[in-house]
């Protein structure tokens, strides 16, 4: 794959390879250029998302017991922690939408709130090996894991101004849940667990609708088809999960219930399991 095909004058210079001269938009590539087998970069690890509004915003009463459990679980599991925004993110979106900021502008301001929460969580977990990790250090993840460190990352994907326009309104469709899903998927980890303050996915937000029914298990496509008034995860997560190579199952759990996280890390079904298919 190393020969250069020199273009004389205004002709293009190519490197010989299977994609030479392709526009990369050709339909034939969609199947032809799929890897035989996709590498898992960090098998054996688990990604755990700590909710912003559901956990962090509740302060020590919720955060401290969860952190104790995380530290305990660390003895048996290699974890990467992600943390999302919560009420301050909702506040800044409200202001930004009142100002008429475009979707990309809203995505640009969302991350700062997660940075705050990551700093808070790192401070709490510092003595037990919690390290706040910025995106630039992502390829060093194996080193952190091997050293017994608990990497703490923000969840929001780094699309910033380059966030796609939304289907409806201006709130970025690709939010923290999708970002954490993509983190887990690109690393090819064993498990992805979203720690929230509800048992899992309901047919509506149980805080607003007492008739909301709990859904213990569902596929991504089924969940989207239900077109619910509220989902506990972004809809983009369900779309991404349907195309999973590695992370074909995620679990949403109530992190206010002691030992739920340890049980979920061990593969027990304690919340809602959402499957790729």
């Amino acid at each position: 794959m190393n020969e250069i095909e020199k273009g004389e004058g205004i002709k293009r210079t190519h490197i010989k390879n299977p994609l030479m001269r392709e526009s990369l938009m050709g339909k034939h590539l969609q199947d032809q250029m799929s890897p035989v087998k996709e590498l898992a970069l960090l098998p054996g690890a688990s990604v755990v998302g700590v909710g912003g509004r559901s956990i962090m915003d509740r302060g020590r009463a919720a955060v401290m017991p969860l952190c104790e459990e995380i530290v305990k679980a660390k003895e048996n599991f290699n974890m990467i922690l992600g943390v999302s925004g919560g009420t301050r993110m909702r506040h800044v979106f409200s202001i930004g939408m009142d100002l008429g900021l475009p979707t990309g502008g809203l995505a640009q301001i969302a991350g700062a709130v997660e940075e705050q929460n990551a700093s808070l969580l790192q401070a709490v977990l510092s003595k037990d090996g919690g390290v706040q990790m910025c995106r630039e250090h992502f390829p060093e993840m194996p080193k952190y894991i091997a050293a017994g460190i608990l990497p703490i990352i923000i969840c929001m994907p780094p699309y910033h101004f380059w966030e796609e326009p939304a289907d409806k309104g201006r709130i970025p469709m690709n939010g923290p849940d999708l970002g954490l899903y993509l983190t887990a998927e690109v690393l090819g980890v064993d498990r992805l667990i979203f720690v929230k303050d509800k048992k899992g996915l309901f047919t509506d937000d149980p805080d607003k609708n007492p008739k909301a029914e709990f859904i213990p298990e569902i596929t991504a496509a089924e969940a989207l088809k239900m077109d619910l008034p509220e989902y506990i995860l972004e809809r983009k997560v369900f779309e991404a999960l349907a195309l999973a190579r590695h992370v074909k199952e995620i679990q949403v759990i109530d992190g206010l219930v002691p030992s739920n996280l340890s049980a979920a890390l061990a593969g027990e079904h304690v919340g809602t399991i959402i499957r790729s298919a």
Binding site: M1, R12, H14, P102, H160, I171
Partner: protein, 273 residues
């Protein structure tokens, strides 16, 4: 069961929302102010990788002169494409089986090289190389008469979404340049390529391919063509756009096309929302 600990809440219209689902859509749509256009007069122009950069001086030098001339009249930001080295890296990545996010990361390096080369050629006319983090400094650069050059690749990196089938990232340099224009509130994004515009198939491979001067994104998606001149995700974004409701693709090997396109003339293919 013990009592659920209270939240430290800030009241806002979204405070009680999961931000996901029909109710969140309604809350979001209730803000119906017109979109704030950040820099609507800027001209966001992509310089193709395989189509322009890989042709070297014969293609680039005349184009550089034209860009420099146009920059006296317009605030221009360039986005660089990848080209043959990106294709080589993608082919290797597929062979090794790296995931889509890693492909997006390695795909990002080539347009950065091209952006740096464009900067060197444009330096004496005010060309500066910028990174995604410099985007908020664009007003300063324009005020100084600079021509910022950015990689066309969006900053998605490891967080590029996998698609069905191939691991070649769906969002590449066309998407990045288009989304720059949409974020800034520009009406048109410009794409300099080596063909007149969109054809019914790749005209380099199919001599019977017919030229399409103007088409809507919806119609183009429905045509379900085997090959198109712009990344397919851009068509989806166009349909949802608030500001950048058209892309203008034209042949940058023909002198004068850029000048005419920036003046609002229709010289290539316009794909609109």
């Amino acid at each position: 069961m013990t009592e659920t600990p209270e939240r430290f809440d800030i009241p806002s219209t979204l405070a009680e929302s999961t931000l996901s689902g029909g109710r969140a859509d309604e809350l979001s749509e209730a803000y119906d102010h017109p979109v704030h256009r950040i820099l609507p007069d800027a001209k966001i122009i992509k310089v193709g990788g395989q189509s322009i950069m890989d042709r070297g001086r014969a293609a680039l030098f005349p184009l550089i002169e034209e860009i420099a001339e146009c920059s006296k009249k317009y605030d221009i930001m360039l986005g660089a494409g990848g080209g043959t080295r990106a294709r080589h890296a993608y082919a290797l990545g597929i062979d090794l089986g790296v995931p889509t996010g890693v492909m997006a990361r390695i795909g990002g390096a080539v347009p950065r090289q091209n952006a740096r080369m464009l900067q060197m050629l444009l330096a004496k006319h005010g060309g500066i190389y910028i990174m995604h983090d410099d985007f908020e400094k664009l007003p300063l650069y324009f005020k100084l008469g600079c021509i910022p050059v950015l990689t066309g690749m969006p900053p998605n990196d490891y967080w590029e979404k996998p698609t069905a089938g191939t691991t070649i990232p769906a969002n590449r340099t066309d998407a990045g340049v288009y989304l720059s224009a949409e974020a800034l509130g520009c009406e048109t994004a410009f794409f300099i390529k080596d063909e007149k515009g969109l054809y019914t198939n790749d005209p380099k491979k199919d001599k019977n391919a017919k030229f399409i001067p103007k088409i809507s994104a919806q119609e183009l998606i429905e045509k379900d063509l085997d090959d198109v001149i712009i990344e397919r995700v851009v068509l989806e974004y166009l349909m949802r756009a608030e500001s950048c409701k058209q892309v203008h693709i034209f042949n940058g090997l023909e002198k004068g096309n850029l000048t005419r396109a920036l003046a609002g003339e229709h010289v290539g293919t316009i794909i609109h929302a």
